[in-house]
Symmetry: C2
Subunit: 642 residues, 2 copies
């Protein structure tokens, strides 16, 4: 039975404090088996992976209303059919993504689906789009959350950027601890938000007083005929409202996070999300139409509807504040998705392989760090302002939707299961609709920021290709997948640079004799007048007295560098013979870090100089100075070691 290894205890004194702080913040290292308890249930999947989608009710319906209001109050009744279309699309997406979960239970969403069905190029477009949009989700959600907070407490508005970065840091930390605990931390506010908003909508829909309430939006809008509402406007309103659908793919990307059987639980969460989001959107649209809600400055559409339904009482404030909190937490959705995506890209050699390594807490720490850094950069670039980010938003997600659904169409055509034509039609409809929305997004938002996405996505794709071609080349050049020739040993010449005859030298020579067939000690004397001759003579005398059975070669130089003569000696040895050359450098390791400056670090300079000579094995032979027994005054002066 193979040995199972426990983590090393004790060890070096150094780094102990740093490690303790890190463990305090993110917790002790976890076994792979312990991460089972970190896996999430369907209900926990809502706060962990679905907050981005759920919180989009805070800006999705408003986006529809704002576009329609341009055509006058008469157009506002279109909010219900348009929302109906969006919810229908939501249903298509939910159905489609449940199929994705079944087909690709390892996660990866649009990336995995398009990779399997549309080829590498399409999958990289999906990957790049998703990276851009995950980052935007973090930035937009945090900025919107802080925006809501600073609207409630205007005195905080000068601290917008620090607040954004502070929330980002907190979310990053929670994710480094592991998503299980994150999900637990987010569960309560998510449930308050869902239950509270659904209750408010229910009260609004059935309350007898509410039915007869005033129509506050009407007076603000000029009456217009229905015929003037153009198809383009309807499409614009539809695609603007589709921002409410960002985030529905996160569950399919994060399937491995669920407790087994993961696909079953993930599909259940997807259905739960679709149901709740659909009911909320339809409820909001119904009430918006009934009460003729229009856009108002300093008051969101959601806030108007809630105020109408239950009045500005405690329930309104509780849910409002919860929305602020949950919007900020929505950023977390990306932390569930992007690290998994980057680990898949790394596994396929499109990103550096370290993205596929798990940290001590069994999470993909590197992906978490990169997402955090990119989001922080975005937040700093826009000064924490949501409106500057919104035009960039949703384009990436809808690109992913399109690729994912196109991929499924190909999938059905290839696999041809029962009812494959119907399934392909549904996915085809979804692909066409989301593709249309993507094109409209790009056209209408290009100059106001979407160009950034148009630049960033191809840049990411180019980076992926470049990394992949490097790994390909390395694999080819270094014979990956081929059987290498049989390893064979050679005679070994060990070169030991020395300065004194003392225990570190003895130690290095002993190790040299252990590993080498031939050993030579070298020492450098700088020709600087009589001092050089006397130091040479003294070293040769000490060597003769010691008689270690190893020849000593003294190298003379007229230059100040004592490393270059050693390198030149090694180069001659390399040229002269076919031996394996090993350089063992004796190094004194002080017991306290502060004494490091008291030793000449020739091994650092020599190792650097030999780095380009890849046929030479270079090793330091460390010897530690024991702890002092007591602090005593120095005795009469004598020359001391280097």
């Amino acid at each position: 039975m193979p040995p199972t290894i426990r983590p090393v205890s004790g060890g070096s004194r150094r780094g102990g404090a740093g490690r303790a702080v890190i463990q305090l913040l993110i917790g002790r290292p976890l076994r792979t088996t312990e991460t089972a308890k970190e896996h999430i249930s369907p209900v926990q999947g809502l706060p962990a992976l679905s907050l981005d989608a759920l919180t989009s009710v805070a800006y999705g319906p408003e986006a529809v209303v704002v576009v329609l209001a341009v055509a006058g109050a008469g157009a506002l009744h279109l909010v219900l059919p348009i929302t109906g279309a969006i919810v229908a699309l939501l249903a298509i997406l939910v159905f489609s993504y449940r199929q994705v979960i079944d087909a690709y239970p390892a996660g990866g969403g649009a990336y995995a689906v398009s990779r399997a069905n549309l080829g590498a190029r399409a999958s990289l477009l999906a990957g790049a789009s998703l990276i851009v949009d995950y980052t935007l989700t973090v930035a937009v959600s945090i900025a919107a959350g802080v925006g809501a907070l600073t609207s409630a407490f205007p005195s905080l508005s000068s601290a917008t950027v620090p607040l954004c970065l502070g929330i980002l840091a907190l979310i990053t930390l929670l994710n480094l601890r592991g998503l299980g605990e994150t999900a637990r931390a987010f569960l309560l506010p998510t449930l308050v938000f869902i239950v509270g908003l659904l209750a408010i909508l229910a009260v609004g829909l059935i309350h007898p007083l509410a039915v007869h309430a005033a129509q506050p939006g009407r007076s603000l809008l000029a009456g217009r005929d229905l015929a003037t509402v153009s198809t383009l406007l309807v499409l614009k309103a539809f695609s603007a409202g589709c921002s409410a659908l960002t985030g529905v793919e996160a569950i399919a990307n994060g399937v491995p996070l669920f407790k087994p059987p993961a696909p079953v639980h993930a599909k259940r969460t997807e259905l739960l999300l679709g149901g709740i989001l659909g009911v909320m959107l339809l409820g909001l649209a119904t009430l918006a139409r009934r009460w003729h809600i229009g856009p108002r400055s300093h008051q969101t559409v959601l806030s108007q509807i809630m105020g109408e339904a239950v009045g500005r009482h405690w329930a309104y404030y509780v849910v409002s504040i919860t929305i602020t909190v949950v919007l900020a937490l929505a950023a977390n959705t990306s932390f569930g998705g992007l690290p998994v995506l980057t680990s898949l890209l790394a596994r396929d050699s499109y990103l550096p392989h370290f993205f596929s390594l798990r940290g001590d807490r069994q999470v993909f720490s590197n992906g978490i760090f990169v997402l955090s850094a990119l989001s922080a950069a975005l937040l700093l670039a826009v000064g924490g302002d949501t409106n500057t980010l919104i035009p960039l938003f949703a384009i990436g997600v809808f690109t992913g939707f399109t690729l994912s659904q196109s991929g499924l169409v190909v999938h059905w055509f290839r696999e041809r299961p029962p009812r494959w034509r119907a399934r392909a039609s549904v996915n085809g409809l979804g692909a066409v609709t989301t593709a249309t929305a993507t094109v409209i997004f790009l056209v209408t938002k290009f100059t106001s920021g979407a160009w950034v996405v148009v630049v960033a996505v191809p840049a990411f794709i180019a980076l992926f290709w470049r990394i992949h071609s490097y790994y390909e080349r390395v694999g080819l050049e270094l014979g990956l997948g081929r059987v290498p020739r049989r390893p064979h040993g050679k005679r070994t010449l060990v070169i030991v640079p020395i300065t004194n005859v003392w225990r570190p030298t003895e130690r290095a020579l002993s190790e040299a004799l252990s590993i080498g067939d031939e050993v030579v000690a070298v020492s450098v004397v700088v020709d600087h007048g009589d001092a050089a001759e006397s130091s040479r003579a003294s070293l040769e005398r000490d060597w003769a007295r010691w008689a270690p059975g190893v020849p000593l070669r003294i190298l003379h130089t007229e230059y100040a560098s004592i490393v270059e003569p050693i390198v030149a000696f090694i180069d001659r040895a390399r040229a002269d013979s076919d031996q394996q050359i090993v350089v063992l450098i004796p190094v004194v390791v002080p017991d306290r870090l502060r004494y490091r400056a008291l030793h000449n670090h020739i091994e650092v300079v020599l190792s650097a100089a030999l780095k380009s000579r890849t046929d030479v094995v270079v090793a330091r032979v460390p010897m530690s100075v024991p702890e002092p027994e007591e602090e005593d005054d120095p005795a009469p002066v004598q020359p001391a070691p280097g």
Copy 2:
């Protein structure tokens, strides 16, 4: 005949640009034999080592006048006898230091003399005092030079600190190139200064008009009786004027810088300095007395005398501007002295040994860097203001004088050459006088800044002791000066951590077989479900197909870290046997630096983890990726290397 090594050409691509910039700034590396031409002549010794002393005429006489003026205009006639006493002391110092040069031709001045005659403790007091004063000389001279410049061009005064640091940087660079070139750069302004000032004094002393010139100082001062001038005041004036003597020791400290025979040339320079400085001081005092020069705001005593002698014409302006330049260059005196002093302290193990190493230009670069850094800190701390620094100044130098002359007294008593009593008397007189001056300095300046010196000097001494006791302990613990036991080889077990079967693995195993009696490859599999089993099986299959003749041990772990299982395996091997353990880590070295992030750097983490296990030899086995032939699109995806 031993081989003489030339510097390595070519080599690693890295650092090439940085090295080129450095060589552009400070010049190519020099041979030790080439530094002969860097050695200086007696006349070059004036700008290189004596500017501090020479330029003190700009503030020394003024210090006397300022003190005497307190007692009224009648006291001003004492300027001549007091200056006479100072010049007599100068003569004693010059004579004394010529003896020092003879007795200690290796340089070191007060440090070497007191070390030889008064013991280690006194020499460390001298060393610490000199370090403090060298730093102050740099700061005061640069600040005074910039002060003169900003007085001439008031618009520059807002840039005082940048100007100070710029001049400091320039001087540092010149010194890193080598003192020979520095001396050459400073020769012209020094000669203009000496010849110009001496000519002006000559004109003042013999010009018929000048003899009958007005007495501008008289009207400003109230008449007082001679009897009211107390002994204390005279002593204060004397010790204040002794600031003109700072720097006369620099030549004795820098003897090795002179061209051979160095002592002869150094003594000649000392005499030259003493003669010029004495003539200048006496000339200035004579003229000051003749014209009853008193202190004036915004006009220095030197400037008044020069104006009286030749009028405010071209000669006045040329010499005035030259004084500004030469004051700034006076800072250079310390760069000639301190690096030699720190190299001596390092040689005696009172400072880190790297201070005794020469740079590529054969100068003690580390001493130059430290002096530059300390001076920059001082200049920043006082904002480039000379007056804040003056009270700290000269105390260190006079401590050095006192120790040096006391040391010589001991020297004469020990050696007893002809006329030793007379010589001892002269040095004894010098020691008493400089000791008195030091005490008066401390008493009168303590609260206005001298306390900094009182703190700094013991702090330096404590540092010296501490460093020395560490080196002592290391030498003792590691058997320096004793014959170590005979080195002997052991059986060697080589452990090779691997991830794939490919050429880097073959390479590492070949080197392992070259150096080891027993070789084992290890690989870590993280237990993470089925993937672990399949990766284990695939690696074992590849290994069996290859059959390298080396056993493969697969280590299982439930934690994320793949380094800790390897460390634990090595620890078990260490505990089980008496073998020498060598760890060879295969490392892929990319052809471009930017590809480094694409490789997992397990060797870095593993080396760090093994650093505390000093009985294990750790080496990387680098294998470079060849340059790409052409940039081609990647072929179909395949798993790629880590």
